[in-house]
Symmetry: C2
Subunit: 240 residues, 2 copies
């Protein structure tokens, strides 16, 4: 896995500073991270990590989207996570990755060699605190996804997915945009994320379109005309 090395941005100016694993670090702690970090970029479709492979680095996603996937012996695959900017790849104390990590779009990672990072964790409570938070958030997200995969209908799955995109985007950008969004994944990738086939994904999106709930600008870009309807269709408890 040899990826071109981007020129590093100063941590102080990093777009993901407020949410990434380093968000609690300041001053001297940040200086150390600054010194050991290396940016790496991957082209869309490139595999970042192979399941079972030794993991020599950990990283934060700076830009782009990557997927975590698992595969059965006959080739059926299920995505078990989606990595968006500020999300973290890798686990202290874990030698190997348990899934494939693939760049869904062009991706830039802020990488730390695993060993130095683990040593730093031991003496930097601000770092380990945040990492525990991130792990627990992922666990909560994984459990919500289990409910989706085990019990939701195709319609509810798609609605939940779109609703997630809305929430995530309103978190990221302060700019109150008019609910114009981009699908970060192809139809097939969405299917693998939701436990569906790509045909069903396509049909459900078409159905939402013809119901006037969403409107496509092109294949990837769309607008949500009725966010409330999406939320209602998601099947989740109204209490958020």
């Amino acid at each position: 896995m040899n990826a071109p090395v981007l020129s590093n941005i100063k941590c102080g100016e990093c777009p993901i500073r407020h949410r990434a694993v380093c968000s609690r670090c300041e001053g001297a702690e940040l200086d150390i991270l600054e010194k050991i970090k290396v940016y790496r970029s991957f082209k869309a479709g490139e595999q970042i990590l192979w399941r079972g492979e030794a993991m020599d680095f950990v990283a934060s996603v700076v830009s782009g989207v990557a997927t975590l996937g698992k595969t059965l012996e006959d080739g059926r695959t299920q995505m078990v996570g989606l990595l968006l900017p500020s999300d973290f790849i890798g686990r202290p104390g874990r030698e190997r990755v348990e899934f494939d990590v693939i760049a869904a779009s062009d991706v830039t990672l802020c990488c730390f060699d695993r060993k130095p990072f683990e040593n730093l964790l031991l003496v930097t409570p601000h770092l380990s605190e945040r990492l525990v938070e991130i792990a627990l958030d992922e666990l909560d997200a994984a459990r919500d996804w289990m409910l989706l995969l085990g019990r939701k209908t195709a319609r509810e799955k798609i609605a939940t997915f779109l609703d997630m995109l809305i929430r995530r985007s309103s978190l990221e950008e302060e700019t109150a945009q008019n609910d114009a969004l981009t699908l970060p994944l192809s139809r097939e990738e969405i299917a693998n994320y939701l436990g569906l086939t790509l045909e069903t994904v396509s049909r459900q999106l078409s159905a939402l379109k013809s119901q006037g709930i969403i409107q496509f600008k092109d294949r990837r870009n769309f607008e949500v005309l009725n966010p409330q309807a999406l939320c209602d269709l998601s099947g989740d408890d109204s209490a958020n």
Copy 2:
């Protein structure tokens, strides 16, 4: 199963000492835990925690089986975790539980009030280290379960579940028993765990029975005649 009404056992003699959150603690650390712990018992079917409820304690499962469940607004439920002896309930820094916790059998918990436990975590690396490990193990388990829920057939789900019971039991008991096992859950609970209906669970178990792979002693107790076949049917990569 026998429902032990336990008064506090000395930590040194606790059956889950080697795997629970306290497993790395010795001497003075253990003395402190010993002082703040309280055993609580729950009858089979009793609800231990309600989703959204404030969580005033954290706990290790000493004996019995509890389930973590989520429910959609129309009542469909999905189990998102199974708590067996030595498993941990609760999260530092989390005020509320995100799911219902229900005793599937009579359950005994080793409880710690949340606040004192959180304070202890900050000054006891042995405790927080182990807790991070436990959280990451749960995350891995959740992701394996996502693959099961999203992509496996009913047959594969049941085979995976039984295979898991075999592995877990061979971990727990050194006693090389003849693959005699107990289902820790009712048919309906298994269905909620696997994202199936109770009828499908029953049919699949009957099918495995008539194929001579398993044999029932009564509703809950059975013997695995062909563990290899179960493993093959699970759909997972042969590489464990």
